[in-house]
Amino acid sequence: MTADRNLRRSPLHGVRDRLATLSGAITVAEVPFLAQINLRITRRSEPRPGGSTSDGDVDVLWLGPDEFLVVGPPGSEQRLISAYSGPEASVVDVSAQRTALDLDGPGVRELLAFGCSIDLHPRVFAVGDCAQTVLAHTPVVLQRRMSGFRVLVRSSFAAHLAAWILDASPDLTAGH
């Protein structure tokens, strides 16, 4: 028997339409099914603590002194596992552990500040910087990108975070 009914669902499948109604001050879009690999390796200088690197379609985010999150396009799990496996490395497929939300718009910093205590001013948190922190009482990985922010949120918390964004966005003063 095969999966004649393929019902693959990303964590925010059910709220994608409502998130799409946000516009102006803030735009929010789930980037579903990204390949994500947790890499533990001791001797690795890049990315630097609190930073991330981008190489082609793959981002490497610093999570801790020996821990990195490798993020690639959907379906690239095996490629990433092969690329990062090694004698000193441990590699775990965590693709479905978190989903990605890309946030952009003139109100994006204001929105994040509603629920996140770290300083996201570009002087402090520049393009490429990333941080594991708390947003709306939810553990997240935040990455500042060329355009806006990417929030990687645990799948079980994703619906809560989306509800929080929908609740908070009317309070944005930017773009009004």
């Binding site: 019902l7 059910g14 509603f114 001013h121 619906a159 809560h160 929080w164």
Partner: protein
């Protein structure tokens, strides 16, 4: 409608926007820019409330947050208790009434939105008066990130009340508003100053719009500001003096009267007597005179003052008039009396630097005898500067210069270099130093008020010191002075002064009472912000949550998770649904979403050794492909968590944890790896949400699995108990584990979170012919309890060892050490009468409440309590699990459960009530 006390012109009110409002049932009119107090005064309404204890009439006393008397209840548009009329901005449709001390909360839920936000800056300036504006402008000139906040609707601070240099205020405010890295927050009160320059402020956003407030905007917001440097420019509050009948309506702080004239274009009276200890009241008198108030006389308590305007050394002996001041009796230094007609008595007993935030920040307020007030001593350990009147500088020129200097130093300390700014010319007149005076002689101490809001008099303070109290903290608690809504802003230092006089000590040696947050009242709604309802705490859901909802599941909270509790069918109650779900699991096939179990990938050459140290049982001997149940203890030997360990390869394991402990177990592992065993080559990674897990349970589960996993040998011999296989299930790559939490033949099927729905629907379809039944946590609990499997956190409470649970078989005797081992030989853990997990059968067939105490018959001695209690379809009766003192020795005996209406007998049994031989797990 007329406003008889409104000046023809002048003030900062918008006379083109009249606003109608009601107070105590009567209709009035004011202007935009008024406060409720200034609008009432414009209408000649000075008496606002009766006092809390004594019921004495009271009038508007101040023009700001320090107000002790004018406490009002807002009735419309939305009920709000205990606001000060001096801080409520007037809006059309406002309905308010006076309050005698106690407010009333709204009975209806507050429909307004509240939010909160985090902010960061290099320099935070608190207070937008002359010093604060100069500080903010100077700091902003450096390019630093600056936040300036002020509780008023517009910047200016004391200048709004004096009417001076308002052009400069507007210019600076406009520059700050345009500066890219500067944020000006008006209507914002800093109410808490915490560690590491964390300042909490509340911003009133739409309340001043009344019913016109847009519903989508938050009414108030809390700012949590982390500042590298802070400039406190919080100004000063004028204080009163203790003389007889100093609480009569018409007795008003001199600076407040000046503010009513200059800022609001309102006359607080027609003919005034002025009583002062310092020069500031003269400026007030001049401004009032210019506006048309007749200044009958100025009594200056400084005997040596010679200015031709005042009666030097004269004091107020008593105040006439109950509802409103009608006359004042003055007394000369040699005791001669003179009665002067007046409807206003303006008082200035000196100025108190607003030091509450400085004190909250950890700073000390020291008494300055020249100032006659307590002011910041300059030794605060936090990164803050004090400027202007907050530091005791009362001359405008000095305040401006200090503001600019401190703004520059704060920017410098934050790593920026400030440019200079242009300050207005302010000639500071040479004057006479103030006198520190507290109680005026000759009056009745029972009507000399130190704390107006709490009705605390000099007589009350004397009673306190008469009992032997020597500390203002004790006097405060005995008399309640300083504990009201206004926190003693006008009366606190006066109280200290009076107590010092009574004790015959220096006021500086006595000190002030301690300031604690909040500086000003803050609504709980604002503190809660967005954390209300479903957003109060994150709700975690599994990939199948929507499907459970469409099945009609009711949900149970397990930590932050929502888990299906049971799935009632038409007309079914919980008991019926659970009996049906249990029957399906024991007799046919049932399935449950088990995705919430914590899952941790543990890998590395030393992973087996590591797990041997953490679990009580041996893990390293587990073969790849096999699964073992394991128990973890704290070093004290008490059970911390349990779950299964599956060995993926020689160097890789997957560990499951209980739903609530996933994060704690991962933290636990990291703690030992990082702090005690850094030599172990092991890495731990959470994969809880990478996988979705469905438990497939029951004698027909093998048939269902075979249908969806055609490539898998599901035979008893081919797929043994406590082993796992990676295979394809419903076309998905899956890991199937043959484990059971019910005693039945069962499997746990793991697929990617993304594929959970595909798997669920495939199992539903494949099991339809067998009546496959989704079940929830309640049925899971019944099934496991029938088998005596404990739930960590329900049947345990941190005082329970594996042996207490009957899990001694899972405690290795071979391992040299593991976490908790040493504690098992402590005398306490080895006691034979420890509480042990047993089964209970209520003799009357009733359902015992969980938590019920269990006692011996007589004398009643507590033996333990019920930890789990259910109805069992399989047993055909109710049963329970309990922690019972020496429980295993009581098997077969009767103990008593304490219920609301008496004792019921229960029979103690072993904890495994169903299929104790374990014949069912292989189907």
């Amino acid at each position: 409608m007329t406003q008889p006390y409104r000046l023809e012109r002048g003030g900062l009110v918008d006379r083109d926007t009249p606003l109608s409002f009601r107070f105590d049932g009567r209709e009035y009119q004011g202007f935009r820019g008024d406060t409720l107090a200034s609008a009432l005064l414009a209408n000649g309404v000075l008496r606002v409330a009766d006092s809390l204890r004594l019921g004495r009439p009271r009038g508007v006393f101040s023009a700001g947050i320090e107000e002790p008397n004018a406490i009002v209840q807002i009735e419309e548009p939305f009920p709000e208790p205990m606001l000060t009329a001096t801080t409520v901005e007037l809006y059309g449709g406002l309905v308010a009434r006076s309050l005698r001390g106690h407010g009333r909360l709204a009975g209806d839920p507050d429909p307004a939105r509240y939010d909160s936000t985090h902010a960061h800056c290099d320099v935070l300036v608190i207070g937008a008066g002359p010093a604060g504006l100069a500080a903010a402008a100077t700091a902003a000139s450096s390019g630093a990130r600056v936040i300036l906040l002020d509780d008023q609707p517009r910047p200016g601070g004391s200048l709004l009340g004096t009417g001076e240099h308002l052009d400069w205020v507007d210019t600076v405010a406009a520059e700050l508003a345009a500066a890219p890295e500067t944020r000006v927050l008006t209507r914002t009160t800093a109410f808490g100053y915490y560690d590491d320059n964390h300042v909490i402020a509340v911003q009133r956003r739409t309340g001043h719009l009344g019913a016109l407030a847009p519903a989508h905007l938050s009414r108030e917001g809390v700012w949590r500001i982390r500042a590298r440097q802070v400039v406190l420019a919080t100004g000063a509050h004028e204080r009163s003096l203790a003389f007889a009948d100093n609480d009569r309506p018409g007795v008003m702080l001199a600076g407040a009267a000046r503010t009513y004239v200059n800022r609001y274009g309102v006359l607080p009276g027609r003919r005034a007597v002025v009583l002062t200890t310092n020069d500031s009241a003269y400026a007030a008198a001049r401004d009032l005179a210019a506006a048309g108030v007749e200044i009958a006389t100025i009594a200056d308590l400084r005997p040596g003052v010679q200015n031709g305007e005042a009666l030097p050394g004269w004091a107020v002996a008593r105040v006439h008039g109950e509802e409103r001041v009608s006359a004042v009796t003055l007394r000369s230094p040699d005791g001669a009396g003179r009665e002067v007609d007046a409807d206003l008595l303006l008082v200035s007993g000196g100025w108190n630097p607003v030091g509450a935030l400085y004190s909250q920040a950890g700073g000390r307020l020291a008494y300055d005898p020249e100032l006659g007030a307590f002011r910041p001593d300059g030794g605060c350990r936090q990164n803050l500067f004090v400027a202007g009147a907050a530091g005791g500088s009362y001359h405008l020129g000095v305040c401006l210069a200090e503001g600019a200097a401190m703004g520059g130093r704060a920017a410098d300390a934050a790593g920026f270099t400030a440019r200079g700014i242009v300050l207005p010319e302010a000639a500071d007149p040479a004057g006479t130093p103030p006198a520190a005076v507290w109680t005026l002689p000759g009056g009745d101490p029972a009507v000399q008020f130190a704390d107006l809001q709490r009705d605390v008099t000099v007589a009350d303070l004397a009673r306190a010191t008469g009992t032997g109290m020597r500390s203002v903290e004790h006097v405060k608690r005995y008399t309640t002075a300083g504990t009201a809504h206004d926190q003693g802003r006008t009366g606190g230092t006066l109280t200290s002064g009076v107590v010092a006089e009574l004790l015959g000590v220096e006021v500086g040696a006595l000190g002030t009472t301690t300031f604690r947050p909040p500086y000003a009242p803050v609504s709980f709604a604002a503190l809660a912000g967005r954390d209300r309802g479903m957003l109060f705490d994150p709700v975690r859901v599994t990939a199948l949550h929507g499907r459970h909802e469409s099945h009609g599941a009711l949900f149970e909270n397990v930590g932050q998770w929502k888990r299906p509790w049971y799935y009632p069918r038409d007309g079914e109650d919980m008991a019926g649904a659970v009996l049906r779900e249990c029957r399906a699991a024991r007799e046919g096939v049932a399935m449950m979403d088990a995705s919430t179990l914590g899952k941790i990938d543990v890998q590395g050459p030393d992973a087996g050794d590591f797990l041997d140290r953490l679990y009580t049982n041996m893990i390293s001997t587990l073969k790849p492909g096999a699964i073992r149940y394991g128990v973890m203890c704290r070093p004290d030997g008490m059970v911390f968590d349990d779950g299964t360990v599956i060995r993926l390869t020689d160097e890789r394991f997957l560990v499951t944890t209980t739903t609530g402990n996933a994060a704690a177990v991962l933290d636990w592992m990291e703690e030992w790896l990082q702090t005690e065993w850094p030599e172990l080559r092991v890495r731990c990674t959470s994969v809880t949400e990478h996988w979705a897990t469905v438990a497939l349970v029951g004698p027909r589960s093998r048939d269902v699995l075979a249908a969806v996993a055609p490539g898998l040998d599901v035979s008893r011999a081919g797929f043994g108990f406590m082993t796992w296989r990676d295979t394809e299930v419903a076309g998905l790559s899956a890991r199937v584990c043959r484990i059971s939490f019910s005693g039945e033949l069962a499997y746990e099927i793991n697929v990617s979170w993304w594929d959970a729905l595909t798997l669920w629907e495939a199992l539903l379809a494949a099991g339809a012919a067998h009546g496959i039944t989704p079940y929830g946590t309640e049925t899971m609990h019944v099934l496991r309890a029938e088998k005596g499997y404990p739930i960590i956190g329900q049947d345990t409470d941190g005082t329970v060892t594996p042996h207490d649970l009957g899990l001694g078989w899972a405690v290795s005797k071979k391992k040299a050490d593991f976490i908790g081992k040493r504690s098992f030989t402590r005398t306490d853990t080895a006691r034979p009468d420890r509480k042990q997990l047993v089964g209970l059968l209520p003799d009357d067939g009733g359902l015992l409440p969980e938590g019920a105490h269990l006692v011996t018959a007589a004398p009643q001695r507590v033996l333990g309590h019920v930890t789990s209690s259910y109805r069992s379809a399989a047993l055909g009766r109710t049963f329970a699990l309990a922690l019972l003192r020496g429980g295993r020795d009581l098997i077969g005996q009767t103990v008593w459960a304490t219920l609301d209406d008496g004792l019921v007998p229960v029979t103690v049994t072993g904890s495994v009530l169903y299929d104790p031989e374990g014949t069912r797990r292989d189907g």
